[in-house]
């Protein structure tokens, strides 16, 4: 049997011509025009504020924290590229062209280039942001430019690492693990630096010739690796390309339909598809739905470990106003609760299993809210204890507020899980810059809005006053009454489904 290879370029040109004939003439140009106009108007309005945020008058970040942040950013970039593919195709191309007798290398090469540019730009932008806070103001422009260019090359190098992971599962596991470790190490270093750790770092910025040599070496290595990647590009397994094509399609759907739940569902599905499970039984004394939630939470121990690690993050905000720290604790409690609200999301989206279980919506919500409440309370209590030990809080045993703050966070997490799909039928808002859809906005606010139950903590920390029994009482009463009110208003003892029909 002989394999016939069809030239790819005419096929792509034919597809492009057919697609263009279906599109409105000038629609793409119109979109570009709108995007440029939007960026120009917003940039014109807030450029001074943006400059103050990204390039303050004096550097306010030391070399060590900047390096730690760079490590975290690089590791997050690798993880994002790994999740995205990075070599991918559109869904139609993955269905029709991947199985066609065309050169696989040529089919995948545009995607590799696009991903390389897509990795270099955020790496360069992140470096600009870090330099804006850490670089001495008397640094020559050439030095800054070479550093940013070097960062772009490093971004491309990280893309090649991720692409190698796409071709081999072992390398993928190593890359993922190293990137996760780098994120953890970077965050731990940031916390340690905030707590007073003073590691030795070079005091002077490297001279331009040294920088040029280093960036040149990085460029040579990346260029060589790029060529090797292109040579082995055709060996990228089909299942990986199909998976990344689905990811790209889901991201497009989520962006086009403004429906972030598509992405969360996809991530959740993929996570469990790769796990090998053994059937277990939760303790019989636990309410049935709480037992199920607990079992699932314990199945994701690495997530719980990450959650435990994130209790240190409010410490990074010690230079920010105290009310920002309070908001971070509340948001953190909500995120901690969100780690165990997947089943509420399932029941709210499709009540078939709720009907099969036959439990009243009120009982179901009480049972389902238990694990999120415990997680949020533990998170908030630990975060407050750490802030207290670091001396960032006014006098008093603030950890006592862990329970009410956790309750507020859990209420917000549960409300967020029940919000469902974005409602695109809501009335749009006319603004001077165009029409704004209110559905996604309402969807984004539903959930975090319940954090209003933690307002006493925000005011008390903002005022810097010592913890008083009155504050504990007010905060506890507000959280309890709010959570109970939410439960009573949104559920019924005479209804099974979590959402009213």
């Amino acid at each position: 049997m002989t394999a016939t290879s069809v030239p790819l370029r005419p096929v792509r040109r034919w597809i492009h011509r057919r697609q263009v004939s279906h599109r409105e003439r000038g629609a793409t140009l119109g979109n570009v025009y709108f995007a440029v106009l939007f960026a120009a108007v917003v940039g014109g309005m807030v450029h001074q504020q943006l400059a103050a945020v990204f390039w303050p008058g004096h550097p306010n970040l030391g070399a060590a924290p900047a390096l730690a942040l760079a490590l975290v950013a690089a590791a997050l970039l690798v993880l994002a590229l790994r999740r995205f593919g990075p070599v991918t195709l559109s869904r139609p191309a993955s269905s029709f062209l991947l199985t066609a007798p065309v050169s696989r290398r040529r089919l995948l090469l545009p995607s590799l280039w696009l991903a390389a540019i897509g990795a270099a730009i955020p790496a360069a932008l992140a470096t600009v942001a870090l330099l804006g806070h850490a670089a001495p103001r008397d640094l020559p422009a050439a030095s800054l430019a070479v550093t940013v260019a070097g960062a772009g090359m490093v971004g491309m190098g990280l893309l090649l690492l991720a692409a190698a992971g796409q071709r081999g599962p072992r390398w993928a596991a190593v890359t993922d693990r190293l990137a996760s470790l780098a994120v953890a190490a970077g965050l731990a270093a940031l916390v340690a630096l905030t707590a007073g750790w003073d590691p030795p770092v070079p005091s002077a910025w490297p001279p331009v010739p040294s920088l040029v040599t280093a960036v040149g070496a990085v460029t040579a290595v990346v260029a060589g690796a790029f060529l090797l990647t292109v040579r082995s590009l055709a060996r990228t397994p089909n299942d990986r390309i199909l998976e990344s094509a689905k990811t790209a399609g889901t991201l497009f759907d989520a962006a086009f339909g403004m429906e972030p739940s598509f992405v969360t569902d996809m991530i959740e599905r993929r996570y469990w598809a790769h796990r090998r499970l053994t059937s277990a039984r939760p303790p019989a004394w636990l309410p049935v739905l709480t037992g199920q939630d607990l079992m699932l939470a314990l199945r994701r121990r690495s997530r719980l470990l990450w959650l435990a690690g994130t209790t240190t993050l409010p410490l990074l905000l010690r230079s920010a106003p105290s009310w920002v720290t309070a908001l971070a604790v509340l948001l953190g409690a909500m995120i901690a609760g969100t780690t165990s609200t997947g089943n509420i999301r399932t029941d709210s989206g499709n009540p078939v299993l709720s009907r099969m279980l036959g439990i009243t919506s009120r009982q179901a919500l009480i049972q389902r809210a238990a694990v999120p409440a415990v997680l949020a309370t533990l998170w908030a209590t630990t975060a407050l204890v750490l802030l207290q030990i670091a001396g960032d809080l006014p006098p008093g045993q603030w950890w006592i507020l862990g329970f009410p703050v956790g309750l507020a966070g859990a209420t917000a997490a549960v409300r967020k899980a029940r919000v469902g799909f974005v409602r695109n039928d809501m009335l749009p808002l006319d603004t001077p810059m165009g029409t704004m859809s209110t559905g996604p906005l309402a969807n984004a606010i539903a959930g975090p809005d319940a954090l209003v139950l933690g307002v006493p903590l925000v005011f008390a920390l903002g005022a810097g006053s010592a913890l008083s029994p009155d504050l504990v009482l007010i905060q506890a009463a507000l959280a309890l009454i709010g959570a109970r009110g939410y439960l009573v208003w949104t559920t019924d003892t005479d209804r099974v489904e979590l959402t009213t029909r």
């Binding site: 959740e268 079992m295 089943n343 989206g349 499709n350 279980l357 005479d494 099974v496």
Partner: protein, 212 residues
């Protein structure tokens, strides 16, 4: 013995836009018996089952299920099981755990509810530790039926339960449904397979015969 029928539908009208699907449908399923409605695609079988399950509001007519108006009350869903709509499986929960969860929610001891036997009869025992999304469509259908059959109920409302099942699977499901009816349960289903319906202990009724 209860003195009211399991399902009593009187003069039911449902239309989609200007197209009438059910025009005065009348049906009775006596308690402890099985009825299978048959008919071609689009004739209104699923619509009828959805109305009886309270998942669709009819334009007019009266429906009584176990002597009461169907609704979303816990009492209704503790007595009635339906597979009219496909479930969204709980993420991270195995096949066996789904069945055990349903049993525990109904106060049953998972060891005594016959889960092992049901999984074995439906050919799912080797997939007990798999998550449902990884199963084939036929296996998912079997799991839905296992969950419907292991929990206590008074009425089963099944929409084409033989769908996507191989011949062995159909025989196993029919046998379990016949057991269900023989032990006092009531069954209302729609099917395209007369042989399967008869083996399930259900009396055949055409959709045309429901319209006097």
């Amino acid at each position: 013995m209860v003195d009211h029928p399991a399902v009593q539908v009187t003069d039911l009208f449902v239309s989609y836009g200007a197209t009438p699907v059910l025009a005065g449908a009348t049906l009775t399923v006596p308690a402890g018996t099985g009825v299978c409605v048959t008919g071609e695609n689009g004739i209104g079988k699923s619509t009828l089952l959805r109305c009886v399950s309270s998942l669709q509001k009819p334009d007019s007519g009266e429906i009584r299920v176990l002597g009461a108006t169907p609704g979303d009350s816990p009492e209704f869903w503790r007595a009635v099981v339906t597979t009219v709509e496909p479930p969204t499986w709980y993420p991270g929960l195995t096949t066996r755990e789904h069945a055990e969860l349903v049993c525990r929610a109904h106060g049953q001891d998972p060891d005594e509810a016959g889960i092992d036997e049901a999984l074995e009869r439906f050919g799912l025992s080797t997939h007990a530790d798999a998550i449902p999304p990884s199963l084939s469509s036929g296996q998912k259908q079997r799991l839905t039926l296992v969950m419907a059959l292991v929990r206590p109920s008074s009425l089963l409302i099944l929409d084409e339960p033989e769908q996507r099942l191989d011949p062995d699977g159909r025989a196993a499901v029919a046998e379990m449904l016949a057991d269900y009816v023989a032990t006092g349960g009531s069954l209302l289903m729609a099917s395209h397979d007369d042989k399967f319906a008869v083996a399930s202990g259900a009396e055949l009724t055409t959709m045309e015969s429901l319209h006097p």
